[in-house]
Symmetry: C2
Amino acid sequence: MGIDIFRTQLEKIDNRILKFLNLRMKLAQEIGEKKKSCGYPILDTYREDRYLKNLKAINRGPLRDNNLEGIYREIFSSSRSQQGGVKIGCPESHFLSCLLASLFRFGSSSIFVPISMHYTQARDGKEPEVDIIVISIPFLLKKLQEDRSFLVSFLPSFSLGGEIDLSPIVSSQSVDNPYFFFQKHAIPKENADSVNTVFLLGGMLPHETLLWIESQKGKVLYSNVDAKNPKNSFYLCKKTAKEPDKESIEYLWEKFTDNKGWIILIGSYPV
Amino acid sequence: MGIDIFRTQLEKIDNRILKFLNLRMKLAQEIGEKKKSCGYPILDTYREDRYLKNLKAINRGPLRDNNLEGIYREIFSSSRSQQGGVKIGCPESHFLSCLLASLFRFGSSSIFVPISMHYTQARDGKEPEVDIIVISIPFLLKKLQEDRSFLVSFLPSFSLGGEIDLSPIVSSQSVDNPYFFFQKHAIPKENADSVNTVFLLGGMLPHETLLWIESQKGKVLYSNVDAKNPKNSFYLCKKTAKEPDKESIEYLWEKFTDNKGWIILIGSYPV
């Protein structure tokens, strides 16, 4: 009995939320028309992320930040759906895990499709007909092992959009982490506070290399150290800088082009 | 330029949504206290589903029903999180796919844990310390093949809560579908409009059996027909009835206890 009184209040609140959600969707449609006429892409993760950051800043609770994020992930997803929707491709050989990462990052109102990403596609110049591609580290490493120019040859018009970190929902032992997404329409990085550059380092690396990366606000995201054959070791790294810093990447490049090591630039994205 | 005007309106709407979300969370806390003192469980999927159905009925759009569902999945999840949260177990041998189904059904503000579900657990009377267990069909079939009394011996205090259908986000070829969830606190079925009963039929089934199931508002969810050895065939079925219909299940039971076929009752849940 006591609970029922609360439930009536709950219904009143939800009626208001529903009203404002519908207003938001109407507005999303109008913004969608504008975007279309200006040639802007439907998805702008950088803008969404900043917008969410502002919402968190004004949030007084008791709604928690991670809950706010979960709800707005779906509100953004629904808004995009009003503008035509976003198509997300997941490699069919790692479909389940990439689908999980996609759902967690882009919400359930997206369109998820398995994509083959076979060599014949690249050879024939056929890129996947999707807006976003979500890739797991095992898939990325497999592809880079097959062909170090994988990103350029398979996805010439896609560029790194960001990372997807599943650790808020599961411990790192249970899933490969992080995932990366690549998007068809690159976001301009000019207005960004800082930029994350992701690269893969491999081969016979002197110990000071990793120390240098750490001293440069860098972080090793994933490593595969082969003690028996150090040539096969590799490190997936991320470096945060105020602006795109070609210099330090070039420094690394020079450091590793003497056939003892190698470096592959995955891309960079604004944060 | 034109877009920026819309964006100011968007911020105003989101400020209101945020305000009402916080009011909802405060109320969820109070309802949580009440639930606690009355011994009610935090999660009541039947009530949530009915509540969502009502919201859809009063929704005038343009927010689409599946989008409303996606947003409210996260609002419900956040509200439960205010009440202490719900712990969801996924079998570690089928972790990724069950996690995907859990995320899609219970939202991201849940706690997801891998559970072993080994024989030693059942032998020692140790049930998983979770509120919900999400199970894929391959896992369920594997366990039932090992031990036909799997559900009773492994999960004595859990009962079938419902199905999870991933087809809204992916085509049925890409993932096993549906999934099932079992919950620790069974929901009373008395007030339900109707009840779904799920059962597994196997063995040498005469053709008219499946016809009979279909004539009884039944549906084959999943089948494995072994033409070479019909004894190994099985059918996962669902039957919808106005109220728990023991009679028809007993009729099926009688029909299949002559050693040509068998039947396992998975459970029933209100719809």
